[in-house]
């Protein structure tokens, strides 16, 4: 028995439920293991420590007070007068009172909630500023201002309800509402509280949305909610058990000293009881602070704006120091509200996202900073991992569909595909082609190979494996060689070459004894939460003389189902009867274009996508939510991630708001909730989306830079330096299709594709490591010589230059090596196609692809300087392209190059050894 097995039994032993044999084993283990003995003693000591709780005396007369309370309740039902406050007890169980009162007071409570929400809220006058730090009384609503019907401006139909029930209802004033209205996600603005009769009557600006009745809820508690980790819960489709697990895991990672992460617990110099009591007192005072300045009204209209910009706007409008910390500054939000207290807006910016407001400074000059604490970040990481696993499982299910065709050879699959129904046809066609090898190998992987695949390694299988390659099973060799129907070889002068299409002498690889079968397999995370199984089949001749690998993947794509189907109608079923959501709304082309034209008034940059008349107009979630805000009149808050939807998807015609929201949110893969009057939205995959999103500050800078710099042909173009910067974004950001589409459509960064291609990225990142002078040389006609690179750069160069070439680099080849980069705008002329290599040339044949000039003549001249045989037809109008040419020495041809050329349409690599 080892320690891991023993530990749970140590716990079970305390329950006296371990079988005798096991107990003996445990005892034997304990004899030799000091760590487990320590554990046993710790477990045993816990009991006595917990029993210390019994030292605490309960408050007096708990039972008697409950009985008296209960008899007044039952007395009331038989007509006896009710007594709401317990005689002689200040602290009547507020929960019990509130719960029993809740039913009777539900209508009244609603009046309070609605009133507090709709009553015009004045800026705090001098009177209030004075009262702000005062006692509990200052936070309580004035009874008169709330309860008299003339003040209940919200809904005139509601006020009379009280008089209907009037005679039987007890006076509501003394009911403590301590718990009932606090902290509920759907119960309206928390902390709306009945008035306290003992408080002196006070006319003047009421502080709404406050706790009262002898207890106040401090700003931070109110803004941040119970726990940023808990706040995330409604947004992640996780069962309760699973959430418990996540929470537990997070708690294990972080040593939580208290529930109130937003205020640091005071440092205690000593461990004396008095010091602790004093610290607790200080902590409580700090927690109860209510900053009257936060009741100023603000109007916000932001679409996909960075939180730093939103905070800056609020700061300049209110004069209060608000900022977004580095952990959230770049997060984007959409928020629309009119004349609502800053406090409420701040709450909507923290709670739904699991963020926390920190307060510092002194009274009257508090500063607030929005952050995401570590626990909340870890919870997000847990969600990501969970989603990744779900996506893996989804992929597994996708691949399982091939199982029943495993006995078919490529040709048999091709024959069956001809008559198969559409769903099967697709699978059979993959099996009929180059997919046969990767798909079959997938089912044959050993556990450690599966693990390597999941870790992102590409698995290479070779009929005669080299180091780091895996053996291709013998029975698969022939089918793999057969699976590429178009592969043809010819033998000329004793050497094998690729046969041109239609060449009658072409032989299939199975007829060539030198051909060795190859298969590659990789699990590609095309985007976060989306896995695709890719792979290729092919053959090689000799040791890298010719390599041909082609694939027809992806063979299976796994997407986490929770992301695919937000199913808002089911999640929000409880809101179906909400009166605020009953009205009918329209969100259509007209509403969306109205939103467009108003985008200019927002402080953020306009984010509406352009669309040509032929393609449907595309919109962002911010456009749709603006239309929702205008149609419903309700304040809206949402996260924002760059995703474009066809405007036809995001339309609602005359549906109830509730149904419309479900429809829109499902279509945009968002979840929605209602918190008080606010409509909250969040992406169903926010935890993944956050990592894909590129900050506005960068996008703005690149877009401006692009506008300012005009290329040689007069068209705006993104400078190479910016392109290099883009390539340095994280792979997650660059891999995201939605972000790439948004960068092009919303920000006009057409060159995004050039930097984004996975194969191009590493070349640009290599340039990023170069000094400005080195970059200058690289873009010059002479190029950046190998000898001018640092040792680290030389290593990197060698890797990149030989990435496509199986031969081993030799030192003398590298001595003359160099890198040339050409970044050409559209509108000029370039040279296409290379002639046969000539040993005498100064540059390799691929250097022709570096030629570019604004006119046809200039381009032809430049090309002929390299190779006099260039024909005029080879000079063609140029497109936007980024080309890297790696040149190195070669014992036979003098110089040899590999050109990597990315255009908007794709990536092409030419040079010796580059597979077809």
């Amino acid at each position: 028995m080892n320690c891991r097995q023993v530990e749970p039994l140590l716990s079970a032993l305390l329950e006296g439920s371990v079988a005798e044999r096991e107990a003996r084993l445990v005892a034997r283990h304990l004899e030799g293991c000091a760590a487990c003995r320590r554990r046993r003693d710790e477990f045993a000591a816990l009991g006595s420590r917990l029993r210390g709780l019994a030292d605490l005396a309960p408050p007096a007369h708990l039972a008697r007070r409950a009985i008296e309370r209960w008899s007044t309740e039952t007395g009331a039902s038989t007509g006896a007068p009710r007594c709401w406050r317990f005689p002689g007890s200040v602290r009547l169980a507020s929960l019990g009172a509130a719960m029993s009162a809740a039913a009777a007071l539900a209508a009244l409570g609603l009046v309070l909630v609605r009133h507090a929400h709709q009553a015009p809220i004045r800026s705090p006058g001098p009177e209030m500023a004075q009262q702000q730090p005062g006692g509990p009384g200052s936070t309580v609503l004035d009874p008169g201002s709330v309860l008299s019907p003339k003040h209940a401006t919200g809904d005139p139909n509601r006020a009379p309800r009280r008089s209907v029930n009037g005679p039987t209802l007890p006076p509501p004033a003394p009911v403590p509402f301590r718990a009932a209205f606090r902290g509920s996600a759907t119960g309206g603005p928390d902390g709306v509280v009945g008035p306290e009769p003992e408080n002196r009557p006070r006319r003047g600006p009421a502080l709404p949305l406050q706790a009262g009745a002898g207890e106040r809820i401090g700003d931070l508690d109110w803004l941040n909610g119970p726990d940023p980790v808990k706040n995330q819960q409604p947004w992640a489709p996780v069962s309760k058990d699973e959430w418990d697990r996540i929470e537990e895991q997070v708690r294990q990672h972080v040593h939580v000293r208290d529930d109130f992460v937003q205020i640091p617990f005071p440092r205690i110099a000593g461990n004396s009881g008095r010091a602790i009591v004093a610290a607790v007192e200080q902590y409580k005072q700090e927690a109860a602070i209510i900053d009257a300045r936060l009741f100023q009204e603000v109007t916000l209209s932001f679409k996909g704006a960075a939180l730093s910009d939103v905070c800056e706007h609020m700061r300049s409008n209110t004069g209060i120091q608000l900022s977004a910390g580095p952990s959230v500054a770049d997060e984007k939000v959409t928020i629309f509200c009119e004349k609502l207290p800053l406090r409420e807006v701040m709450r909507q910016l923290s709670r739904p996202f699991g963020y926390t407001w920190l307060r510092s400074g002194t009274q009257g000059q508090y500063r607030y900073e929005l952050i995401q604490d570590l626990r909340s970040q870890l919870a997000e990481q847990e969600l990501r991992d969970r989603d990744r696993n779900a996506a893996m499982l989804a992929l597994e299910r996708e691949m399982d569909r091939y199982r029943r065709y495993r006995s078919l050879s490529p040709d048999e699959a091709a024959a069956r595909a001809k008559t198969a129904p559409p769903g099967e046809k697709e699978l059979l066609e993959k099996l009929a082609g180059e997919g046969w090898g990767p798909i079959h190998l997938y089912f044959r992987l050993a556990p450690q190979e599966q693990a390597a695949l999941r870790d992102g390694q590409e698995l290479k299988f070779d009929q005669e494996p080299k180091p780091n390659e895996l053996p291709l099973p013998a029975d698969m060799v022939r089918p793999v060689l057969e699976s590429g129907h178009r592969w043809r070889l010819t033998r000329r002068d004793g050497t094998l070459r690729r046969a041109a299409p239609g060449d009658v002498d072409g032989m299939p690889p199975t007829a060539v004894s030198e051909a060795r079968a190859l298969v590659t397999l990789s699990l590609h995370q095309s985007e976060l939460g989306r896995f695709a199984l890719e792979g290729a089949s092919g053959f090689r001749i000799g040791d890298g003389e010719m390599v041909s690998l082609t694939g027809n993947g992806p063979y299976g794509v796994g997407i986490s189902p929770s992301v695919r189907e937000p199913d808002n109608a089911a999640v929000n079923a409880a809101l179906a009867r909400d009166p605020a959501l009953r009205g009918r709304v329209n969100v259509g082309e007209a509403e969306l274009s109205a939103a467009d034209s108003r985008a200019a008034v927002t402080v953020s940059r306009p984010l509406s996508a352009t669309g040509s008349p032929s393609t449907p107009k595309k919109v962002t979630s911010a456009d749709v939510l603006e239309a929702v805000h205008r149609a419903s009149g309700m304040p809206v808050v949402s996260d924002f991630y760059t995703r474009l939807y066809p405007s036809t998807v995001a339309q609602v015609k005359g549906e109830r708001l509730f149904d419309g929201l479900n429809h829109l949110a499902d279509a945009m893969r968002l979840r929605w909730h209602k918190d008080g009057a606010w409509l909250q939205f969040r992406s169903a995959s926010f935890y993944d989306d956050r990592l894909k999103e590129v900050p506005n500050r960068l996008l703005t800078r690149w877009a401006a830079s692009r506008r300012q710099s005009t290329g040689a042909a007069g068209t705006p173009g993104l400078p190479l330096d910016d392109l290099i910067e883009i390539a340095q974004l994280s792979d997650q950001q660059l891999d995201a299709d939605s972000m790439a589409e948004g960068a092009k459509e919303l920000w006009g960064l057409e060159e995004w594709e050039l930097a984004r291609r996975a194969d191009q990225r590493r070349h640009l990142r290599f340039l990023a490591q170069c000094t400005p002078a080195q970059r200058q040389m690289a873009v010059s006609p002479e190029g950046l010589p190998f000898t001018r690179m640092s040792l680290a750069q030389q290593q990197q160069f060698t890797i990149l230059a030989f990435a496509y070439d199986p031969t081993e680099p030799r030192l003398e080849d590298l001595a003359v090596a160099s890198l040339r980069v050409r970044y050409s705008p559209p509108g000029g002329y370039e040279c296409r196609g290379a002639t046969e290599p000539q040993a005498s040339r100064q540059l390799p044949a691929e250097a022709l692809s570096m030629v570019w000039a604004p006119t046809r003549e200039a381009a032809l001249q430049a090309a002929r300087r390299l190779d006099p045989q260039v024909a005029p037809e080879q000079i063609v109008p140029s497109e936007r392209a980024l080309t890297f040419l790696y040149t190195r020495g070669d014992s036979q041809s003098g110089l040899h190059g590999v050109a990597v050329r990315a255009t908007m349409g794709g990536l092409s690599i030419s040079g010796r050894g580059v597979g077809g």
Binding site: S11, G52, A54, P58, A63, I67, L92, F260
Partner: protein
């Protein structure tokens, strides 16, 4: 009131309960219960008072806060009293009350968090050992430590260690199987022990 004494003893120190007291308890309780159902308030008080202290300790352990614990005990009694006419005495009063208390605490834990951390001064402790300050310190740390557990773990650990419930009883009350109870008890103990280790380490650093 001979039966009363038995109940008091049994209700408080469950670990020390003997077979004789168990036999005595339900008989006395049944009498008090019947009297209570007939409207005898003093009988109800006699029935409930012995549970004030253990229930309070349990609620305090779960909720961590004196006021919340007080509210929870009152709510427990109130719910029990409301259900009194329907209570047929199938279960012992003790387990009935505890089950209500556990539900009340878990509901409260779900619906909101306490706003204050701990206030010792309101509940003067009477204990044979230590000054009020040292007791305050001990409980402050204990509450902090319990805070690292999930609410449900707190519940079962306290039922086990404080009240001496068997795993079977806990399983019935939580509607879990026994295996899960063992598991959760182990996880709770381990988490708490780890917390104490870290706490001790930090104490040394200071």
């Amino acid at each position: 009131m001979v039966g009363m004494l038995g109940v008091r003893k049994w209700g408080w120190d469950a670990r020390a309960r003997g077979a004789g007291e168990i036999a005595e308890g339900p008989v006395a309780e049944a009498q008090l219960l019947r009297a209570g159902q007939a409207g005898d308030r003093s009988a109800l008080e006699q029935l409930l008072v012995p549970y004030e202290r253990p229930l309070y300790a349990l609620c305090r352990g779960i909720l961590g806060h004196a006021d919340d614990a007080e509210d929870a005990v009152q709510e427990t009694f109130l719910r029990a009293l409301r259900a009194l006419p329907a209570f047929r005495g199938d279960a012992a009063v003790r387990s009935w009350l505890y089950r209500i208390a556990v539900n009340v605490c878990l509901d409260r834990k779900r619906s909101h968090q306490p706003t204050e951390l701990w206030d010792e001064e309101r509940s003067p402790a009477i204990s044979p050992t230590g000054s009020p300050e040292s007791i305050a310190l001990r409980h402050l740390r204990l509450t902090e430590a319990l805070g690292c557990l999930l609410p449900r773990q707190r519940v079962i650990l306290l039922l086990k260690e404080l009240e001496g419930w068997s795993v079977g009883e806990i399983a019935v009350a939580m509607r879990w199987n026994e295996k899960k109870v063992y598991n959760e008890l182990y996880r709770a103990r381990r988490a708490l022990a780890d917390w104490q280790r870290r706490d001790a380490a930090e104490g040394e650093e200071r």
